[in-house]
C-alpha cells in the first residue's frame, strides 16, 4: 500500500429518474448539503415503461453524488418523501472510499 494514498469512507447516492425531475432533484441535492453532483443521460425500462430517449425531453438521467453518510440519509429521505410518489425514479446508496475527504 502506498502510504501517501489515504482514502476515507463516504456514501455514493445514485438517482435514476425522468429528465423532468432534473431541476427539483438538483435543488434537493444542494439543499441537503451535497457539495457537487455528476449527471448523464441514460435510457432504460422499468415499471413505468420504456424510456426510449428518442428525443431529449423523454430521456432518463442518472445523478451521482458523493456525500457524508448523514447527508446520504437525509437526501434519500427527501427523495422518498417528495419525489417517489410523483416521479419515475429509483435511488440507492453504496459505500465508496474517496481521496480528500474535505471535498465532500
Amino acid at each position: 500500500m502506498n502510504p501517501n494514498v489515504v482514502t476515507h469512507p463516504m456514501k455514493r447516492v445514485t438517482i435514476v429518474c425522468e429528465k423532468f425531475a432534473r431541476e427539483p432533484v438538483l435543488a434537493l441535492v444542494s439543499e441537503m448539503g451535497a457539495h457537487g453532483w455528476t449527471l448523464w443521460e441514460v435510457e432504460g425500462s422499468g415499471n413505468q415503461g420504456v424510456r426510449s430517449a428518442d428525443i431529449p425531453e423523454f430521456t432518463n438521467i442518472q445523478i451521482e453524488v458523493i456525500v457524508q453518510p448523514r447527508v446520504a440519509e437525509a437526501l434519500l429521505g427527501g427523495l422518498q418523501q417528495r419525489f417517489f410518489p410523483r416521479y419515475a425514479m429509483i435511488a440507492w446508496e453504496s459505500d465508496v472510499r474517496v481521496l480528500r475527504a474535505g471535498k465532500f
Binding site: 423532468f20 425531475a21 415503461g49 428518442d54 428525443i55 431529449p56 425531453e57 430521456t59 410523483r86
Partner: protein, 330 residues
C-alpha cells in the same frame, strides 16, 4: 366522403413529408433498427423553428405591426379559451381527475410547431396562399394555455405551495422554453433585418426547408409510433377525445378567423394551431407544475393520437371546413 375532401386528403397523404412520416411509423411498427441520433433530432428542431420564425419575422416587417396585432391577439385568446372548454369535457364526460383534466387541457390549448409547419407545407402543396406572418400566432399560443392549465390544476388541488409560486414557475417554463426562445428570437431578427435579411439567408432557410421537414417527420413518425403501445392504457374516452377535440377546436379557430376576416389559407393555419396539441413545452411544464397528473394520459393523447391524426387526416379536413366557412384567399 365528398370528392373535394377525397382529393384534399390524397394530396396531403401523397406529399413527401407525410409519406416520410408514414415511413417512420411503419419502420417502428415493424421493429426496424432505424433510429436517429438524439442530437440530430435537436438539430432539426432548431433549424425548423429558426427558419419558420425568421420567415415570419420578415413577413411581419413587410405587413407591419398594425396589420398583425389583431389576429395575433385573437390567436392568443384562442389558446386561453380552449383549455377552459376542454377541461369540463374531460372532467365530466371523461371522468378524469381534476389534475389530469387540467394537464390534458393545457396540452390541447398549447400548440405543436411541427403540425403548424406541416400545415404551411400542405398549403404550399395545394397552392393555397397564406400570410407568412402567421408564425406569430404559433409564438403566442404556446404559453397562455399552459398557464391556464396550471391554474385549473391548482384550483382543483391547492397543495402545499401557493398557487402563484406554481404559476410563476409555469410561466417561466413556458416563456423561456427553448422553442419559444428560438422562435421569438429568430422572429425578432427576421423583423429587424427585413427584406435584405430574408434575401441573404434564403439559401439556407428557404431552399432546403422541405427536405429537412421530410427528414424531421420521418423521425416524428418513429417517435409517435413508439407511443402506440400506450394507447391501450388510456381508455376509449381519451382515444375519441384525441380525434374529436382537434376537429372542434379547428372549427372554433375557423369561426374566429371569419369574425376578423382572415383569408382562407391563414384561417387554415389558425385552425391547425387550435387543433394541435403540444408534446414538448406542455409536458415539461406539467411535470414541473402539476407532477401529480399522469403523463401517460397527456403524452399518449397528444403525441400518439392527435399528432398523427392532424398530420394525415386533420390538415385536409380543416382545409375542407375552411372552404365552407371562409372566403377564398386574395
Amino acid at each position: 366522403m365528398s370528392l373535394e375532401l377525397f382529393s384534399a386528403l390524397s394530396a396531403n397523404l401523397l406529399s413527401p413529408a407525410v409519406l416520410f412520416f408514414v415511413l417512420g411509423v411503419a419502420a417502428t411498427l415493424a421493429k426496424s433498427d432505424l433510429r436517429f441520433p438524439e442530437a440530430l433530432y435537436a438539430t432539426l428542431t432548431i433549424y425548423l423553428l429558426v427558419a419558420i420564425g425568421f420567415k415570419g419575422g420578415s413577413a411581419i416587417s413587410k405587413a407591419g405591426l398594425a396589420t398583425i396585432w389583431k389576429p395575433t391577439l385573437l390567436a392568443m385568446s384562442l389558446g386561453m379559451v380552449i383549455p377552459l372548454l376542454t377541461y369540463p369535457a374531460l372532467r365530466f364526460l371523461g371522468r378524469l381527475s381534476p389534475v389530469d383534466a387540467a394537464a390534458i387541457s393545457a396540452h390541447y390549448g398549447s400548440v405543436s410547431a411541427v403540425t403548424f409547419i406541416a400545415a404551411t407545407n400542405y398549403l404550399r402543396h395545394v397552392q393555397l396562399p397564406y400570410q407568412e406572418y402567421s408564425s406569430a400566432f404559433l409564438a403566442v399560443m404556446e404559453a397562455p394555455a399552459i398557464i391556464v392549465g396550471v391554474v385549473l390544476g391548482r384550483l382543483g388541488d391547492p397543495g402545499a405551495r401557493s398557487i402563484w409560486t406554481t404559476v410563476r414557475e409555469a410561466v417561466r417554463e413556458a416563456v423561456l422554453g427553448r422553442s419559444v426562445v428560438l422562435l421569438v428570437g429568430a422572429m425578432l431578427i427576421g423583423w429587424a433585418t427585413g427584406p435584405k435579411g430574408a434575401e441573404t439567408t434564403a439559401g439556407f432557410f428557404v431552399a432546403p426547408f422541405q427536405g429537412i421537414l421530410a427528414l424531421f417527420l420521418l423521425e416524428m413518425g418513429m417517435v409517435a409510433a413508439r407511443r402506440f403501445g400506450d394507447l391501450r392504457k388510456v381508455g376509449t374516452f381519451l382515444l375519441g377525445f384525441g380525434v374529436v377535440a382537434p376537429v372542434l377546436n379547428a372549427l372554433l379557430g375557423l369561426l374566429l378567423a371569419r369574425s376578423i376576416g382572415l383569408d382562407r389559407g391563414t384561417g387554415v393555419l389558425l385552425a391547425t394551431l387550435a387543433a394541435s396539441a403540444s408534446y414538448i413545452a406542455a409536458p415539461a411544464a406539467m411535470r414541473l407544475s402539476l407532477p401529480d397528473a399522469n403523463p401517460t394520459f397527456y403524452l399518449t393523447a397528444s403525441l400518439g393520437i392527435t399528432f398523427p391524426f392532424n398530420i394525415t387526416v386533420g390538415l385536409p379536413l380543416y382545409l375542407e371546413m375552411a372552404r365552407r366557412i371562409l372566403p377564398p384567399s386574395p
